[in-house]
Symmetry: C2
DNA sequence: ACGACAGATAAGCATGTACTTATGTGATTC
DNA sequence: GAATCACATAAGTACATGCTTATCTGTCGT
């Protein structure tokens, strides 16, 4: 089950921090490390989890590996969330505004 | 951090199943149990986790406790997701359709 | 070809988590 | 008011998870 890996991946605060940083722009694993207090193997392991969850994708560039946000994972969360749209109250307005933004 | 509790709560497949069932309509803890193979204490513990994450809320009714989906938690996920709207590709179309649904 | 570098993988360990059984707490029924 | 019911809590246990240190793989510069 794909949702399982996604939510499991995001359940860890360090992993969310990595994802958030990656969302500011693609970068390699070393660049990701500074600012976050984490060892090289730990980072590598976290990236592997995020990648297998479809939240992040990699691209080899010589001896560097460039990581970037994979929209696939985000889309799956949105799909999951959409199943419960019946429970959305007034916040729908906010979402509509957001949608308009995306549309331009 | 609230996001932490939410994602942690949803990381467990049993808990997602409970939430999903609850999304079909509020019900008490015993009613939630049938169909899902789970002991009474386990259910109680899962509900406590979902509740403290803001995904579910309870209402005492005599000796029963009625549970229902709490929109608060869902809204927080949506907010989290919105931070990454820059990464949404063509799926925006799908979301727009969804939005139209919600709007009617 | 060799050393340095970016990153992945392996193995071990400490802590977290989801379950179990047992028991506690209120509300209901007789 | 005693038994029963719905649910919560406690304590223990097996397994998952995130870290560590050590090592491996592959690429680059010289």
């Amino acid at each position: 089950m794909v949702e399982n890996e996604i939510f499991r991946a995001l359940a860890d605060p360090t992993r969310r921090a990595i994802f958030e940083k990656l969302a500011t722009g693609g970068m390699n694993a070393s660049a990701l490390r500074d600012g976050i207090d984490i060892s090289q193997p730990a980072m590598s392991q976290h990236l592997a989890v995020l990648r297998s969850a479809g939240l992040v994708r990699e691209e080899r560039q010589g001896r560097f590996v460039n990581y970037e946000v994979d929209p696939e994972g985000l889309a799956l969360i949105a799909q999951w969330l959409a199943k419960y749209r019946a429970y959305w109250p007034a916040r729908i307005e906010a979402l509509k505004v957001l949608l308009k933004d995306m549309d331009q």
